[in-house]
């Protein structure tokens, strides 16, 4: 979970580091902690620490963590040469380590040597069949190769045992959405909501899946989940506000002509529209007319 304050801190540190203000190590630590993916910055600033013997020795045992982080970032930037150097340093330090073995597998992946990577991973799995990270790498590799159905199959097999693994559920949900298998995706998002009931982004994603599926019941449910996303973000999530407006319009179209059903909060969509207008007024006045005209055509604001 990345909170607003944490993100602000990350961006502030990034700015500071980019402008040569120091604090590179704090920045890298924060990136690791928040699991952010900023490979180019990590590569640049991580290398600047690693190439400075004094700064490096100040880290103590954390040095090796940094080597790993930089290696992964380098692979993410397609700088296989740097990754290779980092990994060779690590494998000299920790010969026979599983963690370094994983990195070597990833290096093969980044090189595009899929078959070799697979043999590496299979070897690691033979040593320890319960290694979750390696199993996830296998899934990711199937995805990278474009074998989405294989990836789904692997993921399902993985989740049968490690069914409390949120990351895997999230990955599966995203894959299902990309395959337009919304029912399955909805199931995965429900699972995520169960794991972390107060994370608005899961509610939002679930609502989006429901809205995409359509149908009166789903739309009503989607509206409720958009509302809960609004609740948990304090009304600051533009996507949830838009979603709520769209849902209410769609529901109105379906129920038009029928007798009014029990409406729990009829004013919610108007409030959401108003909140949108207010938000745009503050942050993007140039787009305000566009938004107001759109909302007017939805009959949400007058």
């Amino acid at each position: 979970m990345v909170g607003a304050a944490e993100e602000a801190q990350l961006n502030r540190l990034e700015n500071q580091v980019d402008n040569g203000g120091g604090g590179a190590w704090e920045y890298l630590c924060l990136v690791r902690k928040l699991k952010a993916r900023r490979p180019d910055k990590v590569l640049k600033h991580g290398l600047s620490i690693l190439n400075n013997p004094k700064a490096r020795s100040n880290l103590g045992t954390e040095e090796w963590t940094l080597y790993e982080q930089v290696a992964i970032a380098a692979m993410d930037c397609q700088r296989v040469d740097i990754a290779k150097d980092c990994i060779s340093v690590l494998s000299n330090k920790f010969p026979g380590s599983t963690r370094v073995g994983r990195l070597e597998g990833m290096l093969l992946e980044a090189n595009g040597a899929w078959a070799d990577a697979e043999t590496t991973y299979r070897r690691l799995l033979e040593e320890n069949p319960n290694d979750q990270v390696v199993q996830k790498r296998m899934i990711a590799m199937a995805k990278a190769l474009g074998n989405i159905s294989t990836a789904v199959e692997y993921l399902n097999k993985y989740l049968e045992i490690y069914m409390a693994d949120q990351d895997a559920w999230r990955e599966l949900a995203e894959i299902y959405v990309s395959l337009q298998m919304y029912k399955q995706a909805a199931y995965c998002y429900e699972e995520l909501i169960l794991c972390q009931p107060t994370v608005p982004l899961h509610h939002l994603a679930y609502a989006e899946v429901l809205y995409t599926m359509g149908g009166l019941e789903n739309l009503q449910m989607a509206k409720k989940y958009y509302a809960s996303a609004i609740n948990f973000t304090g009304g600051k999530n533009t996507r949830a506000l838009y979603g709520l407006c769209l849902c209410s319009v769609a529901i109105n179209q379906i129920t038009k002509g029928r007798n009014k059903e029990d409406k729990e909060s009829p004013e919610l969509q108007y409030l959401a529209a108003e909140a949108l207008v207010k938000d745009y007024k503050e942050k993007a006045p140039a787009k305000l007319t566009l938004v107001t005209s759109t909302l007017k055509s939805m009959k949400l604001i007058s």
Binding site: N130, I161, Y162, A164, I193, L194, G234, E264, S265, E267
Partner: protein, 246 residues
């Protein structure tokens, strides 16, 4: 009151310090012996899965109100149905679990090793202390204590007239036995946190019965009342937006 009981410095040199040093050395030795004997066994897939099922069932229990009731009911059936529900444990299997655990030679061996590495040095040192140092007043703590601490600090001396702040050698042994954990975690690294108390817990927890906790989860899932929280949250969202717009 036995004011100013003078302790011979020879007691310090030949009882207090050797006793402490021996305790530390035995702790270190035990750490390495148990490290040698520990077989790195992998948790098998079934146990792993059971743990994960329990986590997921707990998640379902705590977050039940956040998913629609249809989804909740489907999940409950998936977990608790009597044929192949994840939490359902067939009767005969539940009874076998215990027997299986005892018949598993690996498990028994592991138990033995743990017990050996704990029990033998402990009883040996206790016998040693008892034999050589019984009845010594080995140290004096620098603050007064109430009578209740007599049993703790003056084990082995049956004199009620001695001030409680004097420590007998046998009590010093016990204090060392239980009090050196922090010291060990400093010199041997954190993973040595497996101290005696934890070992005892493990022994008690031996025969941890997965099927029992599965059944408990199943029961608590069965009685859960589903009350969809989303309509309430919708109202709250309305209030949030009103507040935002004000």
């Amino acid at each position: 009151m036995a004011e100013d009981l003078v302790l011979d410095t020879a007691i310090r040199d030949w009882v207090l310090i050797p006793l402490s040093v021996v305790m530390v050395l035995i702790g270190v030795l035990r750490y390495f012996v148990s490290k040698l004997m520990r077989s790195s066994q992998l948790p098998d897939a079934k146990a792993l899965k059971e743990g994960q099922v329990i986590i997921r069932a707990r998640n379902l229990k705590s977050g039940a109100n956040f998913i629609p009731s249809k989804s909740f009911r489907a999940r409950r059936v998936y977990f608790t149905n009597e044929e192949n529900g994840l939490l359902h444990v067939p009767k005969e299997q539940a009874q076998n679990a215990q027997a299986q655990m005892f018949s598993d030679p690996n498990m028994a061996m592991d138990m033995m090793k743990k017990n050996l590495s704990m029990l033998i040095p402990q009883s040996l040192t206790f016998a040693w202390v008892n034999f050589f140092f019984s009845g010594f007043v080995a140290a004096k703590i620098p603050f007064p204590l109430t009578q209740r601490f007599r049993a703790m600090l003056q084990n082995g001396i049956d004199l009620s007239s001695v001030d409680v702040s004097y420590v007998s050698s046998r009590s010093w042994y016990f204090l060392n036995l239980f009090g050196l954990r922090g010291f060990f975690s400093l010199i041997l690294g954190e993973e040595n946190a497996m101290d005696d108390t934890q070992r005892m817990m493990q022994m008690g927890g031996f025969g941890f019965d997965a099927s029992r906790s599965l059944a408990a989860e199943k029961d608590s899932l069965d009685i859960i009342q589903h009350d969809w929280a989303l309509p309430k949250i919708e109202h709250r969202a309305e209030q949030v937006l009103r507040k935002l717009l004000r």
